[in-house]
C-alpha cells in the first residue's frame, strides 16, 4: 500500500511537471517563435481580427448582434458565451422581434445571422450574404455606390477553408477597415 502511495504521489508530480507545465511552456516557446502573431491573439492596431466588435451607426457593416462584445467589466475581462435561449423561448422570440425591427428601420431585409447571437458571443464573421443585405444601409450613409460595396465585399470574402470546410465568410473588422479607406 505504501509503495502504491509513493507511485501515486510521484506520478502526480511528474504529470504536473511534464504534462502540465512542460507541455504548455515548450508549446508556448515554439508558438512564439513560429507564429508570434497568432499566438498572441492576431491583434492589430484596431483590435483582434478573431474577436468581434460592436459596430453601431448606419455607416458601418454590422457583425452578429452579440450582446456583450466590449469585454471590460470592473477592470477584468468578461466571460464569453452564447445566449443559451432554447428554441421555444419567449425571450428569444421577443429579442429576435426587436432585432428584426432594428434592421427594418435601417432599410435592411435581415438574414438569420443578423438576428441571432453566436456561440461565443464574439463571432468576428458574417457571411457574404449578411454583408450584401446591409448594402442599402451602408450605401445611403456613406454615399458609396451599391456596386462599389459589392466589389468591396467580394474582395474581403474568405473561405471555405481548403475549398470545402465551412461556409465562406467575411471578417467584419477587416471589411470595415477596407470600407474606411474608401470613405
Amino acid at each position: 500500500m505504501l509503495a502504491q502511495l509513493r507511485g501515486a504521489v510521484v506520478l502526480t508530480l511528474i504529470a504536473m511537471v511534464v504534462f502540465g507545465l512542460g507541455y504548455s511552456l515548450v508549446g508556448t516557446g515554439v508558438s512564439q517563435v513560429l507564429f508570434p502573431s497568432q499566438a498572441n491573439g492576431s491583434i492589430g492596431p484596431d483590435g483582434s481580427t478573431l474577436i468581434g466588435q460592436r459596430w453601431t451607426g448606419p455607416g458601418w457593416f454590422h457583425g452578429r448582434p452579440d450582446s456583450d462584445n466590449p469585454l471590460v467589466a470592473n477592470g477584468q475581462p468578461g466571460s464569453s458565451g452564447p445566449s443559451n435561449l432554447g428554441p421555444r423561448s419567449k425571450v428569444l422570440v421577443a429579442q429576435t422581434r426587436g432585432l428584426i425591427r432594428y434592421w427594418q428601420q435601417h432599410g435592411v431585409k435581415p438574414t438569420a445571422d443578423l438576428v441571432t447571437t453566436s456561440g461565443s458571443g464574439l463571432d468576428p464573421d458574417i457571411t457574404p450574404a449578411d454583408a450584401l443585405a446591409q448594402i442599402p444601409m451602408v450605401a445611403r450613409a456613406t454615399g458609396l455606390s451599391a456596386a462599389r460595396l459589392r466589389r468591396l465585399i467580394q474582395s474581403q470574402t474568405q473561405g471555405p477553408e481548403l475549398g470545402f470546410l465551412g461556409p465562406a465568410y467575411v471578417d467584419v473588422l477587416q471589411l470595415n477597415l477596407a470600407l474606411s479607406r474608401l470613405r
Partner: protein, 564 residues
Amino acid sequence: MVHFVLTLVVLIAVLAIAWRFLGAYLAAVYTGRATWCSFAERPIYRLLGVDPEREQTWQRYAVSLVVFSGVALLGSYLVLRLQGVLPLNPQHLGGVPAALSWNTAVSFLTNTNWQNYAGETTMSYLSQILALQMQQFVSAAVGIAVAIALVRGFARRGETTIGNFWVDTVRGCLYVLLPIAFLAGIIFVAQGAVQTLAGPVLVHNPLNGVTQLIPRGPVGFMEAIKQLGTNGGGFFNANGAHPFENPTALTNFLSIALLLAIPVALTYTFGRMVGSLRQGVALLAAMVIIFGIWTSFTTFAEAQPNPAVAAAGLRQQPTGNMEGKEVRFGPLNSALYGVASTQTSTGSVDSSNDSFNPMGGFGLLTGMMLGEVTPGGTGSGLYTILLDAVVAVFIGGLMIGRTPEYLGKKIQAREVKLASLGVLVMPVTVLVLAGVATALPVGRAGAFNAGPHGFSEILYAITSQGNNNGSAFGGFGGNTVFYNVVGSIDMLMGRFGIMIPVLALAGALAAKQVVPNSAGTFRTDSPMFVVLLLGVILIVGGLTFFPAVSLGPLVEQLSHGRFF
C-alpha cells in the same frame, strides 16, 4: 451541402487511416513492442519505484488506479484552492471556492470536464495547465489502460495478471498522447489559437469607439489534448465556439478528427490483440451504424429553421438554426461536431447545445444516453461496448439455450453479473439523481429556460456528468453547493462504478482457458452479432431513458406554436 458531404468523406478517410495505423501503433505500445521513448520511460519507473516487468492481478491493478486517482484528485484540488498565492496568475484571481474546486477536480479526474465555472474569469493560467490540462493527459491514459487490461483478459489464457497500471498509464501518456497532441497544438496555434503566458490585452478601435480587454492564455496546446483525450474542457467559457480556441473551420475539422481518432482506432487494437481483426470490425460496425444515424438525424434537425426566430417573423432561414452558432462553422458542421462530441464522452462544444432545435438537442442528449460507446471516450468507449457485447452474447446464449462464449471464453454467472453491473450503473445513477434534482426546489433552480426546455437542461446536466461527457445545455446554473456535490457523485459513479467491474471482469476472463470453436458456437464477428449488440445498446439506452426524454425534447418538439 456538397461541401458538407465532402467533409464527411474526408473525415471517414482520415479516420480509416487512424483506425489502421494508430490502431496498430496502440497495439505495439501496449504489448511493449514500441520502445522509442524508453529513454524517458525508464527513469520515470525508477522514480515511481515500479518494476515495469512485474504485472499485477486485477485487484492490485484496481488498487493502484484508485490510489493514484485519489492523489491526483487531491493535487488538482489543492492547486485550484491555492491559485491566489501561486504564480502564473496575471489576472490576480483568488482561490477557487471549495465546492467548485471539488466538482472541477473530480470532473477533470474522471475525464468528464464538466465546467461549473467560466475559465477566463475563474482560473489562473497555472490552474488551467497544472490542475486541469495535466488531468486531460492522465485521465485519458487511465481510460485506455483499463480498456487494454480488459482486452488482455480476453486475449490471455489461464493467467492471473492483466498488466501493470503504472506502465500502461505512463506509456499511454508518453507514446500516444504527448506526441500527437503536440503536433496538433502547433496546427491550432498556426490557425489562430492563442498560446501565451502574457495576460489580457487592452485594445481600442477609434473607428467604432470600442474598447476591449481581451483575455488570453496558453490555449492552443490545451485545445489539442482536450480533443485527443476526449476530455472537452476548454480554456474559455464558450469552449470550442471561442475564436481563440477554435479559430477556423479547419481547426473545427481537426477537433472532430482528433476526438474520434483514439476511440475508433482502439477497435483495431482490440482485434489485433485478440488475434482476429474481424472481432474489432464487428464492434466498429455497431459504432458506425449508430453514429451515422445520429449524425444524419441531428444535422437534418439543425438545418431546419429555429422555431423562435421563425415566430418572431423571420421564416426564411436557408442555412438552418443559427442561434448560438458561429458563422465560420454554420449549422451542419456544428451539428456534426455536437454529435461527435456527445458520442465520444468529449463534451466540448463549438456552438450552444442549449439553442439547438428540439430534435437536434434530442440527438445530443440521447447520444450520451446510449452509454458513450459509439465510439465512446478514450478507452471508456471500448471497455463499455465490450460490456454490452458480453450482455449481447449472454442474451444470444439464452435464445439458443447454450452457455455463451465470447472470443473463446465461456461467459458464466460471474462474468454476466459483472457486465450487467457495469452496464446498469450509469442509467441507475442518472435516473435517480435526475429525479432527485427535479423533485427538489434547489435542483429546479438550476434551469435557466422555462417549460420543458428547463427540464431538459437538468436532465442533460445529470446525463452528461453520469456519462463523463461534460457538454451542457449551457444555460444551466450548476455552480451551487447542491449541484457541485450531486455532480461529483454522478461523475465518480460513471467513472469508477464502471471501471472496477471492468477490471474484475478482466481478471475473471484472464484466468479462463479457451474453449475451441464448434459448429454450435455463436459467431461474434458476424452481422447477426452486430444486430444483437445494437439491440443491447439501443434497449439499455433507449428504453431506459425514453420516459425522461419524452418529458423534455419530445414535448418541446410536439408543442407547435407554443413558447415558454
